[in-house]
Amino acid sequence: MAERTGESPKRRFVSTTVEVEGRTEERVVEVPAFEPTPWDRDAKLTHVGARAPRVDALLKSTGRPGYTTDLQRARLAHVAFVRAPVARGRLTQIDWADVRAHPDVLDVLLHADVPARTRLFSPDITYVGQPLAAVCASTREAAERAVRAVGLRIDPLPHAVTVEAALHAEAVRPGLTNNLMQGAPRVSARGDVDRGLAEAAVTVTREVRTPCVLHSALEPHAAVAEWEGERLTVWESTQGIYRVRENLAKALGIPLTDVRVICEAMGGGFGAKNYAGAHTYAAALFARRLGRPVSCVIDRGGEQVDTGNRPSSWQRITLGATRDGRLTAIVLDATVPLGIGGWEGGPGEIFHELYACPNVRTHETFAFVNTAAMAAFRAPGHAEGAVGLEIAMNALAKALGMDPLLLRERNIATHDQKKDRPYTGNRLAECYREGARRIGWASREQQRAQAQRATPHRRRGFGVAAQVWSTGGGPPSYATVRLNTDGSADVLTGSQDLGTGTRTILAQVAAEALGHALARVRAVIGDTASGPYAGNSWGSMTVASLAPAVRMAAEDARRALLEAAAGLLAVTPDALETRDGRVCVRDTDRSMTFGEVTAKLGNVMIQGHGSRGPNPKDVGIVTTGAQFAEVDVDIETGVVKVLRVVAVHDAGRIVNPTLAESQLEGGILQGLGFALFEERRLDARLGLPLNVGLHDYKIPTIADLPRIDGHFLDGADPQANHVGARGIAEPAIIPTAPAIAGAVADALGVEVNELPLTPWRVLAALPS
């Protein structure tokens, strides 16, 4: 239980360095007035760690949880975008005459009509699919018909859609001096790789390519905007209501207090829904101009073309090792075409982190090109980098004549080598052992022989890959927990539930800390008007960032409840404890339900405030794990079938194993798509995306489902935060594709080092 003794402690605000996406920044953080004692791994917990059903599961099965795209408002108008048909050029004229005359068309927006900060509708065309103008009509069909009737006059300009072309081309967009992110390649090194390679008994070099893949959430990006006087309400399908609110206020030049953002439910994000977008601004601007609510839902073509992607990568990897398999050097040269904008996801990061090695050098060229901008996509950079690194590790194992699992076990990074500091924990060795046991790694030759006797035209293979990902989360995050007069409890916080189960997890944590029945606790999230600040649901950090704030708020409310109940039960608060919604006098049978206490209080409100404290200093917080894949490759057709994926991860305390397993399965299935099917194809001459629907762009179907055996090591990380939890969403995807690629190479005896592993690539790799 929480400690608070002597003088009433106060919160403090201190300046400290924090890690933000791999960089360190100076930031002010709040040190809370008190922090609950950490739940260590032996803590006896009732709700936390239980397989509680997802609280909104039944609502979701009725189709009515409140998605933005389903919102109904009286006089709702609809927006569609005019998009650029060429990769680069200058828009000189738009012919609207036929469009404006149509009775269903209400309004149009051009570059001159929008605030500069929205950056909308620039006449400088820099990629295919760029919004050039918007039409608002009384029906969706009318808006879509109208944009097809618009005439465009464009002076085309030469474009570059590959890194090679961008290096030699003029600036692909205005404002650039060259086409490299931050003007130059990013080089990151420790030790001396030349010496490391000289010391190596064995070296291998591989070239690997990973495809550009698309988030493909089933609910497209969408916003509905409505003004009441100066105040704007926006419903948005988003991973960050507070960020969208800030984006809107800045872009429109209005006070934050006038902007309310709501996301009651959303149909998938995976990294693509972290900010307000063209759809948000267009909906807000039209709604203000027209004085009626406006919906902007991106159509599927626009969704696949212009809402973000995981950029492709080319990687050349050289590894050196001693005869007994200890890495002496890791070298990466990589190029990544970011699209017209973006940031350094970077395949290089994982090369510095996953394996123990004194000498590492990564050289990454991030180029801006005339295609739509990238966006974070579940483990950005790491998912791509793991493919290259793990393919090279398999090649090294082969060159050494060593079991690829043993090679990995020899090179476990026991501390954070990038920052030269310990980890709060790294149980990767246990993940390898448990995974190997579950897949039957030691008996894989027998399994292979048995399978191939039955089906001689197929080849069976096994692969292994590992992952590391920073999942400590951190401040700021806030929560309020209040008890209603009937004793039920609300958890208020400005987070949102992407489908990960945030609502359920937060209710479990609050019920645990209150000593309440889970069914009597509800998380009220997804509304900037009711919940205090919580960050974006990204970076696998929602639980680690927010659960401690919720726990603290619940502890604070519980303390107030005990103080109130003490008088009613004629004891001191320290004689009281809470259990299953009752305040009990210790060592007696006297008790009151929460509802009996709060009913006596009337509208005197019991509420608690919670904030997320700083992370511990000088220690790295990561989730690690290993995945094993078993595949069957048909050598006549080249078709790869993934039969089995075993995943074992260490993510500290698992608040809800059922939901965690669902996350794991989701990451594995997206990794399977990355390995086998998914690739945005471009016409390199025109810069035109060729597969912009879910028919030509293949995501896994239920028929592609392997047997998935997902498992988390039992434990907790009380050093990371007082709930003991780390993140899992992104760790789940990182090892899947490399494990599958390793299994395919194992099956065939030859490597296929370009993803996706399509039948034609497999057939081309086979000796004729």
């Binding site: 059903p53 997802r54 909104d56 599961a57 039944l58 609502l59 979701k60 099965s61 009725t62 189709g63 009515r64 949880p65 998605y67 795209t69 389903d70 109904q72 029906t139 969706r140 069909e141 988030h215 493909s216 959430a217 089933l218 609910e219 497209p220 439910a265 959303m266 149909g267 998938g268 995976f270 839902v297 159509d299 599927r300 992407l498 489908g499 990960t500 189960g501 059922t658 939901l659 397993e661 669902s662 399965e665 989701g666 990451g667 594995i668 299935l669 997206q670 629907g693 879910l694 028919h695 995501i699 896994p700 179907t701 239920i702 028929a703 489902l705 998935i708």
Partner: protein, 168 residues
Amino acid sequence: MLPPLVQLTVNGRPLAVAAPADATLLDLLRDTLALTGTKRACDRGECGACTVVRDGRPIYACLTLAHACTGHEIRSIESLGSADAPHALQSAFAAEDAAQCGFCTPGQLMAAAALLATNPDPSEDEVIAAMSGNLCRCGTYPKIVRAVRRAAATLRHADPAGPERAHG
């Protein structure tokens, strides 16, 4: 000129609804009847989020013209059950955690309902074959297979006469 009428039965109710000639069944359900449980995710027959049941067979509402439904019986997710009185499939989806973001879930459920109406005891392979026209990006497929088979067992146990009645 008023658009012509579509005469059809939606979730047991006979209706006559004005719809332009090019309106899809999805437009009619969502935009005219405000039955938004049926989702619009691709609007081009690629994902299955708009799956409804017409005369017992699953169809993509986005690829079906509204006027092609005259004289037909349509069942959408709104007819399956409610959070208070869920259908066995809905209870099974909840129990198995077969919905993450939940956006594809109504389509998945209607495809499953059509399957169980004709096959009360589907094998894993039969479930997979029947459900492979419904995409999920969150990765609920393992849970969907289990949920459909669990619901089938519940319905067989509860209703020996067959699941057609239970589904209706």
